[in-house]
Subunit: 337 residues, 2 copies
Amino acid sequence: MGVSVKQVAQLAGVSVGTVSNVLNRPDTVRPETIHRVHDAIEALGYVRNDAARQLRAGQSNQIALIVLDMGNPFFTDVARGAEDRAAHYGRTLLLANSDESATREAAHLDQFERQRVSGVLLVPTADAAEHVARLRARGVPVVLVDRGSGDHTIASVAVDDVSGGRLAAMHVLAQGRERIAFVGGPSSLHQVRDRCAGARAAVREAGADDLIVVDTPGLTLDAGREAGERLRAMVRAGTCDAILAANDLIAIGLQQALLAGPDGVRIPEDVALVGYDDIAFAAAAVVPITSVRQPRDAIGSTAVDLLVAEGEKSTNDARQHVVYQPELVVRASSQPG
Amino acid sequence: MGVSVKQVAQLAGVSVGTVSNVLNRPDTVRPETIHRVHDAIEALGYVRNDAARQLRAGQSNQIALIVLDMGNPFFTDVARGAEDRAAHYGRTLLLANSDESATREAAHLDQFERQRVSGVLLVPTADAAEHVARLRARGVPVVLVDRGSGDHTIASVAVDDVSGGRLAAMHVLAQGRERIAFVGGPSSLHQVRDRCAGARAAVREAGADDLIVVDTPGLTLDAGREAGERLRAMVRAGTCDAILAANDLIAIGLQQALLAGPDGVRIPEDVALVGYDDIAFAAAAVVPITSVRQPRDAIGSTAVDLLVAEGEKSTNDARQHVVYQPELVVRASSQPG
DNA sequence: CGCCATTGATGAAACGATTCAAGTAGGTTC
DNA sequence: GAACCTACTTGAATCGTTTCATCAATGGCG
């Protein structure tokens, strides 16, 4: 069943070494020989065995990316950026989903380590530190994605989430809104904590009411919808006039719950709504959602760049930390009205 | 850098064969020896090299899944179903995205073939036939996903899209709508063709006006929005009172464009809207969208089941073809009003 | 004509895990 | 005590590719 170089060599009337040369350094082989070998490959339907190649080479040319939620378009966009960039370096991207579970994350990391991937791009769960340390101890390059590492020895690419939270808050404050809620969770996620912290700082500085924090079990549509039920009452009661969501999935869920039913509230008249990530669905909502945009493609591609650079460093060299600044995209959901 | 069985064996004072036995058939090894070997593994931080294992084994335990659009939640849900099922068989799922491009699809297939994956689940592009044939000729099991193969020699799992299109059309016909449009494309995709055919058949049988077909360059939000601009005028002119979208991304884009601006139309009063796939965002739209639900998880998990069964068949055995029936989920966007 | 440089091809060694026939030690039975 | 089991362990062979020192052939040059 398996066609190997040996059979190709035999059919072409050359040695296995020559077949390998044809495949990997054709410039050292006589054109006519190349032709003969290619004919044999064609005739036999030979396909190179990556396992053997990789065994000899010591490591693969694959890069792994583990994200928190494949269902979130934000991460699929990051993945797209990373994949394109990886292809540019002649590498393949392996995509995995941790679903915010440290257990699944660890399982994927183990699998990738056995595969001897040339590096791992990780959007870490809250409890990732230990796994990451173990991985690095074994010499696997790691780049943290969507998270500035406090640890200077780990390369990272992130967006300034504190600044993003601040942007969102300042935008609604500028419209005279003073009863601002922040919705998101779990607070163990750095993204959530930082965005919340930024918003809180802005609110404090403006002297508005304290930030109302609504915790959710995850960053999903459902979680947003559920929180929206509670917040609708507050908006009607006049105790809340602006809502900042930790991401767009939450924001979309919120919007649905806020507008729904006979006691629905108006957006932005009764309450302003600001999301985070600027995924395509945010702009497509019927009340298009103002959102804090992150350079999704750039995050992915830069992560790959850092990883490739990482491969050429020794363990003690300084690591690079790229921090992008987010950008506010204003839409109808918060348009001064 | 690389710790191998050899070093583990040395430290534990046993042979490499014994280390392998500890890893793969612990029941044949004395408990005390097992313990010693595990200690050595721990001490050295040994991680098995999958490339070597796989080289020896002849094939990997990985299953590949290639989807048309990673940005479409429908496919990520299918992937999730497949991944869980694969884990159940002790296999790993490799996820790849063809972006509806036959070229990218072929590149992924080549890569997977070099990796000697144990099988491929493929949501095929329009021009996949040739690549698939080549792959199967080399003995790689293939299961077509989201597409009933006319070819009885290829296993497949699909949803009856003709029936789905019919369901959608009959639903709006039952409300007395008679000027029905179908929006989607490119028509080279079977999903689009079949859904359209089903709708057309239902319209014919009911004696309503001929189905208005609006072609789009892809099944995306943007495409839907663009088509919506055109359709809004028709709705206002009274030449269209129901729209069936080829998938939910299109439907969401449509809804946005239909409702937008001063000359926006009302849903469902002026026009009914029906989507396809029933992704989470469809229910979350502010006018929640009626949609044809496909059993996304089941599609993924069944595909894996078929693939595993495939591995035990000879080339000439009959293939299994699973066809699920879709189900209409009625929401406000088409609620009789 | 003999020597050297160049070009092209060779084949054995290596990568790391698994397998399996063969071996050893210890115990049981008659 | 010889013959036979049982329970473990061993070590060489194997998978398919790449690498590299070595070899053969060719042509140029003095």
